[in-house]
Symmetry: C2
Subunit: 133 residues, 2 copies
DNA sequence: CTGCATCCTGGGCGATACTG
DNA sequence: CAGTATCGCCCAGGATGCAG
């Protein structure tokens, strides 16, 4: 029974530019996945105010900032309607929709495993409590 | 064709403590998932030096720091063997193994979608290039 | 309503050097 | 080899205020 492969046979290490790492970096922003997820969830175009209301804790600044980044990466499109008051809609691009898949995977996994997540939370709580003594 | 539900009928927003967000926070550390993944990949116990060598860019400090956090969350166990030179092994706990699943999902998804990840990279590159002008 | 500019703070993360 | 301590940077990200 091989519990551990010898050094020489172990698979090559991740390099910085490997796919998993690039994905991680893409999702590293605090609000990135939540914004993509919400855009997807609401279907069609979403207005900034709606996004803001649907993502508690998100500030206007971080929203627009994140949306700009996603625009530049061509994961999100912005549609402006020049009227008063201004009407703006954001929607996922075709490329953007691709990345919905891993996000939904993560989110639903989380939802299905609340129990384990609570165990982790409990552990961290126990820790901070003992730290107070 | 309903492209967008009226405000009142839209599903309640994520609150801060919902499962998806907790999962995101758990994985928010730059090295967290990579360390868990590598521990899993190597099977059985892993020695710090091995981890370090298998995760390019990881510094000794960030490794131990992340491992300590994971220990506190009870996702990782540390086994010390008091000899010279010191022998230490880290291994996933039962709870830790649970979280391997979403990590592997993410990583393999990334691997299967290198093409799209490259498109994103291309978009960001095009951006920084035009910014130079 | 939407969006930008500004200012500021915390802490994540890295580099380095030192112990056993 | 494994781990710690220190220093300091940088920037993500929050608060506020102004403009169209």
């Amino acid at each position: 029974m091989v519990t551990q492969l010898p050094e020489e046979y172990r698979q090559a290490p991740f390099d910085e530019t490997c796919a998993p790492r690039r994905l991680l970096r893409l999702f590293s922003g605090k609000w990135t996945t939540m914004i993509l997820h919400t855009l997807h969830l609401m279907g069609g175009g979403s207005r900034p105010g709606q996004l803001l209301r649907n993502i508690p804790g998100l500030s206007k600044k971080m929203m627009t900032q994140t949306l700009r980044e996603l625009e530049q990466l061509e994961l999100v499109e912005r549609e402006v309607r020049q009227v008063m008051p201004p009407k703006v809609e954001y929607r996922l691009t075709k490329l953007g929709e691709v990345f919905i898949e891993p996000i939904e995977m993560l989110y639903t996994w989380g939802t299905l495993h609340e129990a384990e997540l609570s165990q982790v939370a409990a552990a961290s709580k126990a820790l901070s409590r003992s730290a107070l003594s």
